[in-house]
């Protein structure tokens, strides 16, 4: 039975929970009051086209966040992110991690532009940032953030990091190069048609020369500007004694240009400026697409910064608390922490006691108690308690900073390897040069006048266009195909390595499971006089402001009309008591909630499920089962992976029982529990010895160093920005099924690349032989080059041509047989 999905955020609606939002005269079921508010806001603002046009995977991330923006009301904090110019226009850059689909960008644009005083919203889809400018005295940063949060996104003000600024500069110059190559290339090709027509019909010598000179002139900007990166890279390779595609490309371009220039100067012979232009243009396009894919990765510096809070409460010399920007902290500062705070530094507790969620560092899904003298770490969250801590390390010296450095180092090591086609191309260029020289010498003996034209035609016809284009076009096509199915391809290495014989390591919490405690069932005791919904609303009211991990399971049932009379009283580790409408309730562990066992028998305690009880007075009212549910379609995915010859393994920081239950359910033989980041790293190294390729799928920052050591890695979109910034691919949406599409697409891509390379080689062998014997005329050479390039490009398009959408319907697991 398929569970109903929320109209707004498309996640499963908890059983027995029925609320609706009115949109466009119809009622739609939603999963929580937040989504109801968001949907009705969108309807009220007249933006409902959003629902019709957004991408199928995009909804999954639209759950209105529980974020609070009050810290941005503080002047010190705000001033880090907002710049105000002389005319009173304020500007800030907001990072919205979930902004993957154009309709979402449109929605945010509409919502923000509608606010009073906002002048402009400029979005950058690749880096998922928007720059908002507004009149400083008419609008505030906090209100803008809140407006975005209402429709379900999580905006974060950031200080634009260096990396992304230079990425933008790279992007803009890539566009300019593309423009030059395209526009001037069109001119060159236009003139070339004149020349070819002239060859056939006859043309006056003066006009022929005019066309030649004009072609030369338009080729100059192409070579000097658009092709500059190729020349630069070629020089770099030569200096480092490495052979690569850039050398091949640069040689071809130079030789063709020089030969054509000579012929222009001589006023006779063939010119090949149009071929040069076309080649440069096609190369610019493919490299541009590759670069865009790379830019989809998150900015590592911003990702790190977003793991820490913007401001903390510091105790000054005389003990008075003051709100201070995190950037201004110094070690040995005394900080005050409360429940809900994210810890900004590594430090030790001086006074008080805390219950901390360290799952982002250790992967453990439980909470740990820290007492006086215990250490606490930057990036972790305080669930309960209050304490004064002394900072020991700040900034990049923290554990968090250490992890970031590990990632950085691993990334650099990976970029060194040279790809298959590069090595192929360099061998090829050597052969071509050799053959050309041999032909030159031979023809010089036979008929010196024909020697140069023959040499030229060999070099032109041998142009490595097909070779140079084979891989990039295939990868661009594959990336387009994958993004249609919910997987953002950041680095091509992912395609090369996702193949039979690989081992794929999954993290459990947040990757195989949804990472959120969810209410799976509610059981009322016999004597309970309330309905399921009423019990849930009472529980939600009690847990409304609690930061406890389990409290979030009740968040969807929050109802404004049901509220506690005063603040609930927390009994550390046991539960919470509060009164609602004058009646006292208790919510928590069974021993806390009722003093005796005389009420209804327990549900059998299924492994991995937590039981939370609600009582009124001493009477048990209800029993809630909370667990972290598996993502949709994980079971069929495991079957498919095994069929493809890919072995799944689980490595999790969670305890033995929890991991075992998931592994048995999925039929996975190898699983590891209680893994620290170091353990996972060691496991990965061990697996690399057993299997040729090891892939990793994860979400948290405890996975981040591992993600960079694996041969290829995939991060979950909802995961931490740090994980996303290192991964080679990002899974959008709530399902892992796109991994199946990945295995199909990588198979196709490998086949297509092989075919393209095979074609390039055979074409070259035949064409060079013909040219060496002097049977290839200039126009034949030019056509040969173009056709072979087009064939390669066309072949690459086959990757995205055949639809796979019958396979990936996230609602229904498709039986294995249907995949044939």
């Amino acid at each position: 039975m398929t569970q109903a999905r929320c109209f707004h955020c498309e996640t499963d609606i908890p059983e027995g929970f029925v609320i609706e939002a009115r949109v466009d005269e119809r009622s739609h079921a939603v999963c929580c009051y937040g989504c109801q508010a968001a949907a009705e806001f969108i309807a009220g603002a007249g933006l409902t086209q959003f629902y019709r046009h957004r991408e199928p995977m995009a909804g999954a991330i639209l759950r209105p966040p529980e974020a609070k923006f009050s810290m941005y009301e503080n002047e010190d904090v705000r001033q880090q992110y907002v710049t105000v110019d002389d005319s009173g226009i304020a500007e800030a850059t907001l990072y919205i991690g979930d902004l993957y689909c154009p309709a979402c960008i449109w929605l945010v644009d509409q919502v923000v532009s509608d606010l009073i005083g906002v002048h402009g919203v400029s979005a950058n889809p690749a880096s998922r940032r928007i720059i908002v400018s507004w009149a400083h005295d008419e609008q505030t940063l906090v209100d803008i953030l809140r407006a975005i949060a209402v429709v379900g996104f999580k905006p974060e003000p950031i200080i634009p990091g260096q990396a992304k600024a230079s990425e933008q500069a790279d992007y803009r110059s890539a566009i300019k190069r593309l423009l030059i190559a395209g526009v001037f290339g069109m001119q060159a090709m236009m003139f070339a048609i004149g020349l070819y027509a002239g060859d056939y019909y006859g043309i006056g010598a003066g006009q022929e020369q005019l066309l030649r000179v004009a072609s030369l002139l338009v080729s100059l900007p192409i070579l000097l500007y658009s092709a500059k990166p190729f020349f630069r890279a070629a020089l770099f390779s030569v200096r480092h004694h490495r052979l690569g595609m850039d050398i091949t490309v640069s040689l071809a371009l130079l030789i063709a240009f020089v030969a054509s220039a000579i012929n222009t100067a001589l006023g006779q012979g063939a010119v090949y400026f149009d071929s040069i232009a076309m080649f440069v243009f096609l190369l610019c396009v493919t490299r541009f697409l590759e670069m865009r894919a790379r830019h989809n990765a998150d900015d590592r510096a911003a990702a790190l910064a977003s793991m820490l809070p913007a401001a903390v409460t510091r105790l000054s010399q005389d003990g008075a608390p003051e709100l201070v920007a995190v950037a201004k902290l110094r070690s040995s500062d005394l900080l005050m922490l409360n429940s809900g705070d994210v810890i900004a530094v590594d430090g030790a507790i001086k006074q008080g006691c805390l219950v901390v969620d360290e799952s982002m560092l250790t992967g453990e899904s439980g909470a740990v108690v820290r007492d006086v003298g215990d250490g606490i770490f930057a990036g972790t969250r305080v669930l309960e308690g209050e304490a004064v801590i002394e900072a020991t390390t700040i900034g990049s010296g923290t554990q968090l900073g250490e992890i970031a450095r590990l990632i950085e180092k691993a990334q650099d090591d990976r970029l060194a390897a040279l790809s298959l086609s590069d090595r192929f191309a360099s061998a090829f260029v050597m052969i071509v040069l050799f053959v050309s020289l041999a032909a030159l010498v031979a023809w010089w003996q036979i008929d010196a006048e024909r020697a140069l034209p023959v040499l030229l035609s060999i070099l032109i016809v041998a142009c490595p266009c097909a070779l140079a284009l084979a891989m990039p076009t295939a990868l661009a096509s594959a990336a387009a195909m994958l993004s249609r199915h919910g997987l953002l391809l950041v680095r091509s290495r992912l395609l090369e390595h996702f193949r039979p014989g690989a081992t794929i390591v999954f993290d459990k919490t947040g990757t195989l499971t949804n990472g959120r405690p969810e209410l799976t069932s509610t059981q009322l005791s016999e004597s309970c006089e309330y309905s399921v919904r009423q019990c849930l609303e009472i529980a939600a009211a009690i847990e409304r402001d609690s930061e406890h991990v389990l409290a979030r399971a009740f968040a969807p049932f929050n109802c404004a009309s049901v509220a506690t009379d005063e603040s609930p009283v927390t009994h550390l580790g046991q539960g919470v008591s509060a009164s609602v409408d004058g009646v006292q309730y208790k919510l928590g562990k069974r021993e806390f909630v009722v003093s005796s066992d005389d009420d209804c028998a327990d549900l059998q305690s299924t492994q991995g499920k937590t039981q939370v009880f609600l009582s009124k007075g001493q009477k048990l009212l209800a029993q809630f089962s909370i667990s972290d549910s598996l993502r949709a379609d994980v079971e069929p995915l495991m079957n498919e992976l095994r069929r493809e010859g890919i072995r799944p393994v689980i490595a999790s920081g969670d305890n033995r029982l929890a991991v075992q239950s998931v592994a048995t359910k999925l039929g996975i033989d190898e699983w590891h529990h209680d893994q620290t980041p170091q353990d996972k790293l060691a496991l990965l190294k061990q697996l690399k010895q057993q299997s040729d390729v090891v892939l990793m799928v994860g979400d948290g920052i405890n996975d981040a160093p591992v993600l960079s050591v694996a041969d290829a890695s995939i991060a979950i979109a909802n995961g931490t920005p740090l994980a996303r910034s290192t991964a080679d691919g990002i899974l959008l949406g709530q399902s892992l099924l796109p991994l199946y599409v990945l295995s199909r697409v990588s198979g196709r891509t490998r086949r297509v690349i092989k075919q393209s390379l095979l074609w390039a080689v055979s074409y070259n062998v035949v064409a060079i032989s013909l040219a060496a014997f002097g049977w290839v005329t200039p126009w034949m050479a030019a056509i040969g080059m173009s056709t072979s390039s087009l064939i390669v490009v066309g072949n690459a398009l086959r990757i995205s041509g055949q639809s796979l959408s019958h396979v990936v319907t996230a609602d229904l697991p498709v039986p294995a047989e249907a995949y044939q």
Binding site: I105, W106, Q168, Y171, K176, L179, F184, Q187, L217
Partner: protein
């Protein structure tokens, strides 16, 4: 066909002007977002009540 001697240089000058305009647009950030403008055409509705969410 001697008009070509005039037209081709003229054409080249025009091309240069256009390329300069494109360069300006690129520097101005007009090419930064290539996806959402396509969606905007479809999504933007002239009869939408503007200012509905003003606060």
């Amino acid at each position: 066909m001697s008009i070509l001697y005039l037209l081709i240089p003229l054409g080249l000058i025009l091309v240069t002007v256009f390329v300069a305009a494109f360069f300006w647009a690129a520097r101005n950030g007009q090419f930064d977002d290539l996806e959402s403008p396509a969606m905007s055409i479809v999504l933007d509705d002239d009869t939408k009540p503007r200012g509905a969410s003003r606060r």
